[in-house]
Symmetry: C2
């Protein structure tokens, strides 16, 4: 069994990005610039955005944090999005979710110029992903594909089960994995809350991606000997073993599953660390105009 070390890969990618930024600087190019819009003071969102800003600094990007209070109107928020769309210094930007209830989240997402949509949530980018055109892919699927690449995990012709059909993980990942190309060309089945025979279908899988948000859902008796298991789950579960009283728990019962796997991601330290570097990668792609030429 080989552990997929997301922390190590994320760190390697950061080093690669630093080198790219150095090169851009040396050639007198424009430093990549990511902006983040943060509405209100939700604890989780504050931390996520702070981590994104910090990651930008680490790799030498410029970053901007734009704050609104909880009572921001839809109109104000959309006006800021339009402003960022037109601001040539900003290569990519994100609007941190969730948004307060007076805001139509979808309207905001669709207002972001696809060329600057570093989160890859705009339907234009999702649609382009589906038909195999260059596109910004959202952070978690992007990060998982990157892990498969870095560990040279063969996917062509493999039977791959994606547990969960969320718009930001399961669905886009299932599409990416079954598309034509390298680190794709898999035979993909999407399982979800209405699926039957989940255990039997998982037992057929060469690759299992668990992204349903149910702690320790995938047990050893659902996994074929030698399978690759990618665990996207990160649920805070009560624990007496930690100081905080909580433990980050994946969708896979790691201890019993790991022994059967060829590769497995731990939680934490597997998929998680890849999400922020995926955002950095998207920002770099946006700055280099590699998606929309």
């Amino acid at each position: 069994m080989k552990l997929i070390d997301g922390k190590k890969i994320a760190s390697e990618i950061k080093t690669e990005i630093v080198a790219e930024v150095e090169l851009i600087k040396k050639n007198g190019g424009k430093i990549p610039h990511l902006a983040a819009i943060l509405v209100g003071h939700d604890g989780g969102s504050e931390i996520y955005v702070a981590n994104k800003v910090k990651a930008c600094e680490e790799v030498g990007f410029k970053s901007s944090l734009i704050r609104f209070e909880d009572d921001v109107t839809q109109q104000e928020l959309l006006a800021k999005v339009h402003e960022l769309n037109l601001n040539n210094d900003i290569d990519g930007f994100i609007v941190q979710l969730p948004l307060p209830k007076q805001i139509n989240k979808q309207k905001v997402i669709e207002a972001i110029a696809p060329q600057k949509d570093a989160d890859g949530f705009n339907p234009v980018n999702i649609g382009r992903t589906v038909i195999g055109l260059p596109s910004f892919v959202s952070a978690t699927p992007f990060g998982i594909i990157e892990l498969l690449k870095r560990y040279k995990i063969e996917t062509s012709g493999k039977y791959c089960v994606v547990l969960g059909r969320s718009n930001i993980v399961g669905r886009p990942l299932s599409i990416l994995l079954s598309q034509k190309g390298k680190f794709a060309d898999a035979t993909v089945t999407v399982l979800h809350s209405r699926s039957n025979n989940i255990k039997e279908i998982c037992c057929m899988a060469d690759i299992i991606i668990a992204a349903l948000g149910q702690p320790e859902f995938v047990k050893a008796n659902m996994v074929k000997e030698g399978a690759v298991v990618i665990d996207v789950g990160t649920t805070r579960v009560k624990s007496e073993l930690t100081k905080s009283g909580f433990k980050l728990t994946g969708d896979v019962k790691f201890d019993e599953v790991a022994t059967k796997c060829s590769f497995i991601t731990p939680v934490p330290g597997g998929v998680g660390p890849m999400t922020i570097v995926s955002l950095l990668k998207n920002t770099l792609l946006a700055a280099k105009k590699e998606i929309y030429k």
Copy 2:
């Protein structure tokens, strides 16, 4: 075994659309108007567009045919698309494919306003389909879902195999069938040219959608007793039995498969007749502003 009669259903839907158009007229509303852009004189395209125009007339829609010669420039074509986007009398329009090689097909498709994209090929509509927002769905997947509805074929929790991952049939259909909702919620596997164990996986299927364009690919030994089989294939195969010397052949070996099925679509007369009514339905949805409110 029950035959799914696409011709009959298509005719029923046309009658329903006629009634809707009558009602719109009676209430002094605007008659739905579909425009089609046809470039060059490709025989197939001429026939397809003529059939679309004829179908519009049959249900009481207004239709416009806009012709360009083979040597049209990208700029001229895009200018026409923009003109149609802005023309308030036109509710929806299509650009008949294929286009000559000097034209960037994707640029043209992306120039069509999503609100008027009756073919559902614009990435915005594809992306919205993926995330479960109201959208224009392309004709063949739309027609197939409609057939399942009309024959009250249960899909929730069923194991569904889609053979083929094309952008206009297999891919969107696989997404629609595995989404939340009625006539969806299926467990979907997409099989394609790189898939292994195709026979074994097909044998598990409650529903098989064959959309790979390989005549008589699906044999009896690939189909479970009682399965539902939808045949999207329409390949012209040489035949000594027809006057034309050709026979339209599906992706399913109908004679031997039909006896095992609970439901099956014939070729011709199954999925085929549904495609044009799907285009009419999209035009009606566009005219009624039911997708983009």
